[in-house]
């Protein structure tokens, strides 16, 4: 396959899964500038790892693993050093104002995710996006039973923090 063909395939796959990019960036960064920067870092890492992408694994699982790894490192970085960000006016992800149309429940979920630590943020995102325990365990590198227990605890936390309605 030529480089152009590989690039095209990569771009098409990422475009099909752009929601993952959006949700991860939104969950790990408050600042829109940081979100854009994180999105770019994720794209760079995805491209670097694309050659090693195992086709037997779902692209979404693979993308989640890399995106979350980059996001956690980004989140944990003490000081934001000056980075080589391409273009000031253009954005990698152009989003129509969806925050205004977010249902109240989704708004609550985003606020709750924002308060979680970086590892539990990853767990919550993977669960909410419909990954099963095995997939969650594979992405996080923990056992399936451990993933199940942690999700059960997350549910309890949500119940306590958000309260019963």
């Amino acid at each position: 396959m030529t480089t152009a063909a590989v690039q095209d395939r990569f771009q098409t796959l990422v475009e099909e899964h752009k929601k993952i990019l959006y949700k991860v960036c939104n969950s790990y960064c408050k600042n829109p500038g940081d979100r854009d920067d994180l999105a770019q870092e994720i794209i760079v890492q995805l491209w670097r790892s694309f050659g090693a992408f195992d086709q037997r694994v779902r692209f979404s699982t693979w993308m989640y693993r890399i995106a979350l790894n980059v996001a956690i490192s980004f989140y944990r970085r003490e000081s934001v050093r000056s980075r080589h960000v391409i273009s000031g006016d253009e954005h990698l992800l152009e989003v129509a104002d969806e925050t205004a149309s977010r249902p109240e429940e989704v708004r609550v979920l985003y606020q709750w995710i924002e308060r979680l630590d970086p590892l539990n943020k990853a767990l919550a995102l993977l669960y909410l996006d419909g990954n099963n325990y095995q997939e969650i365990a594979d992405v996080l590198g923990i056992s399936e039973t451990n993933a199940a227990t942690k999700i059960s605890r997350l549910k309890q936390t949500l119940r306590q923090e958000v309260g019963a309605k």
Partner: protein, 225 residues
């Protein structure tokens, strides 16, 4: 509010997201071609610049040691400096080797542990450089004056002056540590944050056991639910 109820709302919202998000393909292409190259270039530049500088220092100190081999008052400080420079070169290359081996395509717990260990290594490397700077400034002064100006510090200054300066280096180091602990409680923040996150990761990886309440509320889960 139950997470499983909210999950349904999340999925509904997720379907709508497809229509409201647009990925800028042109910018994406520029990002992963230019920025990836820039990151590699920066890493290569740090490695090349740092390694060449340290290698030059090591070679120069080696030549200095050979030249003054019969004069221990010059060779001992030069050997000390040479050993410190070799250690710095090894540590620099080890850091870059560790960074290059990080593959983001691995499970989160494993990669985050490696990244945090690398961060810890970098913090300790900087600490070691600061400590050596306080302790090795006198040997550096002796060797630099002899090497560049053929001046003998032992003749120019009294032995008491040299001993006082070595002792002063120790004192500055001890005082610096004490002051930072007393007045800058955040000074050890990076180190504590790194070790703290490593502990969190270890805890996260550890198999959690269910409480009886959790066990009774557990049921098999599949994404089709």
């Amino acid at each position: 509010m139950e997470l499983d109820e909210l999950k349904g709302k999340w999925a509904e919202h997720d379907r709508k997201l497809d229509l409201s998000i647009r990925l800028n393909r042109q910018l994406m292409l520029e990002t992963y071609t230019k920025r990836a190259k820039f990151a590699l270039w920066r890493l290569a530049a740090v490695l090349a610049l740092g390694s060449i500088t340290l290698l030059a220092v090591i070679v120069w100190l080696g030549a200095f040691t050979a030249k003054y081999w019969a004069t221990p008052k010059f060779t001992i400080p030069a050997i000390l400096l040479d050993l410190a420079a070799i250690a710095a070169l090894v540590a620099l290359n080890a850091q870059i080797g560790m960074a290059l081996k990080i593959d983001y395509n691995q499970p989160i717990a494993a990669i985050q542990k490696r990244l945090e260990k690398l961060r810890l290594f970098r913090i300790r490397y900087i600490q070691a450089i600061l400590v050596s700077a306080a302790l090795l400034w006198m040997p550096s002064f002796i060797v630099a004056l002899k090497g560049f100006f053929d001046a003998d510090v032992y003749r120019l200054f009294a032995t008491a002056w040299i001993v006082t300066n070595v002792a002063f280096g120790f004192a500055v180091l001890v005082l610096g540590i004490w002051l930072s602990k007393k007045y800058l409680p955040g000074a050890g923040y990076n180190l504590n944050a790194a070790t703290g996150f490593l502990a969190t990761l270890a805890e996260f990886e550890q198999d959690a056991s269910y409480s009886s309440q959790e066990r009774s509320s557990m049921r098999a889960y599949s994404p089709e639910e």
